[in-house]
């Protein structure tokens, strides 16, 4: 059945995709569907067009219900819960949890991400049996009760032996249906993600928050694409070192910036632990783009060219806008490399830029 809503839905999709030129782009926001993932609330981006109205500002506070002393933080969005009291009576809304897998799927759908094609020689194929079809013979333990019942019911109705007041269904030999398996081949590809981040003084808390959110989504997506994903973290200012995830997101150093130190450590990591024959490699580097002068950028370019780019699936560089202005590094990279090389750069100006940058990083399907 074609619903009448399709007309308006199509129109809406065209407007947000920009295929129909309407002067509404300035109202397009990335709305959010809020889902829960364990303890965490995650938001899935959906487009919406927010027509302006006369209204009060946000952060008006509101009334809530529950335990807690004064000063206890309440989660929620500062919404008194009634602001949506609108034209829809009786719409019961329930919030449910989503699994990581589903999250990745939503992200993929929303951003129209292509599935990654692991490079052929690196994937080991494994065989698995999956029960996804039926057949007419088989062991009783695999009998498909529902299908069998349905078939028996159909036969009895057709033959006129079905009595609605005494609905007794007796399956005979021909009615029985059994589950059956097919053999599928699954590539068993592994991936290693190496996150590098500049922790010099110019990277503030907000910048780190952006990196954290972005890394969460990248992890989610890559985990949905690979059997096994290993994650390593490198921080650097003038020197680089490997750290655990917690330190990675919370460490704050001061001092200068030498990006080459991180790239060098990354190269050694790859050489020692991740042979390109067995691993799909994804180094990500986030910085505010300020690099130490004195030829360090040239060293970076050299390491990338010589050691990293030939072996990785994709090298991604994200430059996060910081209050100290964003640096030159992204331009330097773009100058030295061409589009056909597996290097992707993206500029992230604030939290709104995260979604676009994820799309840039993951949109290539590499």
């Amino acid at each position: 059945m074609i619903l009448k809503i399709e007309r308006d839905y199509g129109r809406f999709r065209h407007i947000v995709r920009g295929t129909i030129k309407r002067d509404l782009t300035r109202y397009i926001t990335r709305g959010e569907l809020i889902g829960k993932q364990g303890e965490k609330l995650v938001s899935i981006p959906v487009h919406s067009i927010d027509l302006p109205h006369f209204r009060f500002g946000d952060n008006r506070g509101g009334v809530g219900q529950g335990e807690g002393a004064n000063g206890t933080p309440v989660d929620g969005d500062g919404d008194s819960g009634q602001s949506k009291a609108g034209d829809q009576p009786g719409a019961h809304i329930l919030e449910v949890e989503v699994s990581l897998e589903e999250l990745a799927q939503m992200l993929g759908e929303e951003l129209e991400l292509p599935n990654i094609q692991p490079r052929g020689k690196r994937s080991v194929v494994s065989r698995r049996d999956k029960y996804r079809s039926v057949r007419r013979t088989g062991p009783e333990s695999l009998r498909h009760f529902k299908r069998t019942y349905r078939k028996a019911l159909r036969r009895q109705i057709a033959s006129g032996t079905y009595d609605p007041s005494k609905p007794r269904i007796i399956p005979i030999r021909e009615d029985r249906i059994y589950r059956s398996w097919t053999e599928t081949e699954e590539p068993q590809a592994n991936a290693a993600v190496i996150y590098m981040m500049d922790v010099s003084g110019s990277m503030g808390d907000e910048q780190k928050e952006i990196v954290r959110i972005e890394a969460f989504w990248i992890d989610t997506w890559l985990k949905s694409q690979y059997k096994r994903v290993e994650t390593r973290y490198i921080v650097h200012d003038a020197a680089a070192r490997e750290v655990d995830a917690h330190t990675f997101y919370h460490l704050r150093e001061s001092g200068g910036t030498k990006i080459s130190s991180a790239y060098d450590l990354c190269r050694r990591m790859v050489e020692d632990d991740y042979s390109p024959e067995e691993w799909n490699l994804y180094p990500f580097h986030f910085s505010d783009g300020d690099n130490w002068g004195g030829g360090d950028t040239e060293i970076c370019v050299e390491i990338l060219k010589e050691a990293l780019l030939p072996v990785v699936n994709q090298f991604s560089y994200g430059q996060v806008e910081s209050p100290y202005g964003s640096g030159q590094f992204i331009k330097d990279l773009e100058e030295h490399f061409h589009d056909n090389e597996p290097l992707v750069t993206s500029k992230i100006d604030g939290k709104e830029g995260i979604v676009d940058s994820i799309k840039t990083f993951l949109g290539k399907g590499r």
């Binding site: 309407r22 302006p52 506070g61 809530g64």
Partner: protein, 498 residues
């Protein structure tokens, strides 16, 4: 329309009978079973099968169907305020849920029919929305989709500038203007004192007449238009904006629909509370079988669950109705009760009045959310329900619990409900500075409006008015006038009255 499945139909008859037995009064209710896609589509249209073409229904649909597909949320039921009442049931709901939803729907149906705020709504709205769709489709054929849609967008930007109280205000009949004019008006020009024989020289007649005319004209100009600030901005625009006929009609469609939906916004807490009250009574007293209790309890508590930082209108509504019933059953109101200071005596207060049922029926007839909270929210209730106010702590950047003081909670709630939690905006002058410009006035009550939104809204308004538009409001304690002449926006401090 296919008939309801046998067991559902039987349950419907039973529930309807029960509902009538409890004293609920409602128009016939027609239930339809739909699948989730249909439900999303109907809900996107605000419960109607047909609406005029516009992308925002599509947007609504995307959000509803996606959040269902992703398993984030789901709509259980949808009920429409018409006669007969239409209600949609989800085919995928379990039988327990279906019974719950039907009981809930009868509560809504009773509320729609009896609550005074719903009395002006058009009970034939199904036909009306279809007519609106036909009219707007015709304009689209004649003037092009882009043009009509752009105009609708501009109108939607101000669709909330209506006055839901206006159907109830009985204005004194228009003053008989003609008669007034016939009375010889007092002369405005003072004559200079003079001797009789000098009069024609000191006060030449021609001059007097000319001056008189000039003063009269000036007075006419100074007369305000509209005479007092007009809250129904949409109506003012329909009457006075230089619109083409189709535009005027589009605007009136939008206004009519805004008025139709307004009472649902005004009575969200009561309406949901009333329906929840009745579904819980009917389900737990009669309808549940032993096997269904757990499922019912699970879903009912999901509906009325509370979350920190958010107030659930279902929860607040149902608890308030129960509280009122209890208080009027036991006589816990009035001066003697209020002034009682003995804790034990107050706790065990019971005069066995038994007026609870009458009272809640009366409440559902005459109140809306604002008066409901204002009248029946008590300090004991706030304490029992663990209500609190919260606000942004600038230092931590989080929302934090601020107070559990009754007065503050009530003030915060009432503020959020009054005028739908939106600023009061009036047309203050339709001929601003005598240049035919439109001036709106924000009745400032201490809360600033959102600047960027206001600016964009003004832009849209200027498209409708065709001449520059202004908004007088207050930013950072400074009276400010925002002006938009269609292209540029400017802000200036209001210094003196123009």
């Amino acid at each position: 329309m296919p008939a309801l499945p046998h067991e559902v139909e039987r349950a419907r008859e039973r529930i309807e009978e029960l509902a009538r037995g409890h004293g609920l009064v409602f128009d016939p209710v027609i239930f339809e079973m739909v699948d989730y896609n249909q439900m999303s589509a109907i809900a996107s249209f605000g419960g109607f099968p047909t609406r005029y073409p516009h992308w925002r229904w599509g947007m609504e649909y995307e959000q509803l169907s996606k959040s269902h597909r992703y398993g984030l949320s789901k709509i259980y039921e949808m009920v429409v305020n018409t006669n007969p009442v239409y209600a949609y049931l989800l085919t995928s709901n379990s039988f327990t849920d279906t019974k719950l939803v039907m009981a809930h729907v009868f509560g809504h149906a009773d509320f729609f029919k009896n609550n005074i705020w719903f009395s002006p709504t058009d009970k034939k709205m199904m036909d009306e929305t279809a007519n609106h769709a036909t009219r707007i489709k015709r304009y689209i054929l004649a003037h092009g989709l882009d043009r009509v849609e752009a105009f609708i967008d501009a109108c939607l930007s101000i669709e909330d500038l209506i006055d839901p109280h206006s159907p109830f205000i009985r204005r004194r009949s228009e003053p008989p203007e003609e008669e007034e004019r016939e009375e010889s008006p007092k002369p405005l020009v003072r004559k200079m004192k003079s001797k009789d024989y000098m009069d024609s020289f000191v006060n030449p007649k021609e001059y007097l007449q000319a001056e008189e005319k000039r003063l009269r004209e000036e007075m006419e100009k100074r007369k305000r238009f509209p005479e007092s600030p007009e809250k129904d901005v949409l109506q003012f625009l329909i009457e006075h904006a230089p619109l083409e006929r189709w535009q005027r009609d589009v605007l009136s469609v939008i206004r009519e629909e805004a008025y139709y939906f307004a009472p649902q916004g005004q009575t969200k807490i009561m309406n949901e509370g009333w329906a929840s009250y009745w579904h819980s009574r009917m389900m737990t007293e009669r309808l549940l079988t032993d096997a269904e209790v757990i499922e019912y309890a699970d879903h009912h508590s999901g509906t009325v669950s509370m979350q920190p930082g958010r107030l659930n209108p279902y929860k607040l509504g149902i608890e308030l109705f129960r509280d009122i019933e209890d208080r009027y059953n036991r006589g816990r109101f009035g001066r003697a009760y209020e002034e009682c200071e003995d804790y034990v005596q107050k706790r065990d207060w019971d005069q066995k009045l038994g007026q609870g049922k009458d009272m809640i029926f009366q409440v559902r007839r005459v109140h809306n959310d604002v008066t409901f909270i204002d009248t029946f929210l008590t300090e004991e209730f706030c304490r029992e329900q663990k209500l609190f106010t919260f606000g942004r702590n600038d230092r931590s950047g989080r929302n934090e619990i601020q107070s559990r003081e009754f007065k503050k909670i009530k003030a915060q709630l009432l503020f959020a409900l009054t005028n739908g939690g939106r600023p009061f905006i009036y047309v203050s002058d339709g001929n601003f500075a005598n240049r035919g410009e439109l001036c709106l006035w924000h009745r400032f009550e201490g809360e600033e409006i959102k600047r960027d939104y206001a600016r964009e809204t003004l832009k849209n308004l200027s498209m409708i008015w065709g001449r520059p538009v202004h908004l007088e409001t207050v930013f950072e304690d400074t009276p400010t006038r925002l002006t938009c002449d269609g292209e540029t926006l400017k802000e200036e401090e209001i210094t003196a009255q123009v």
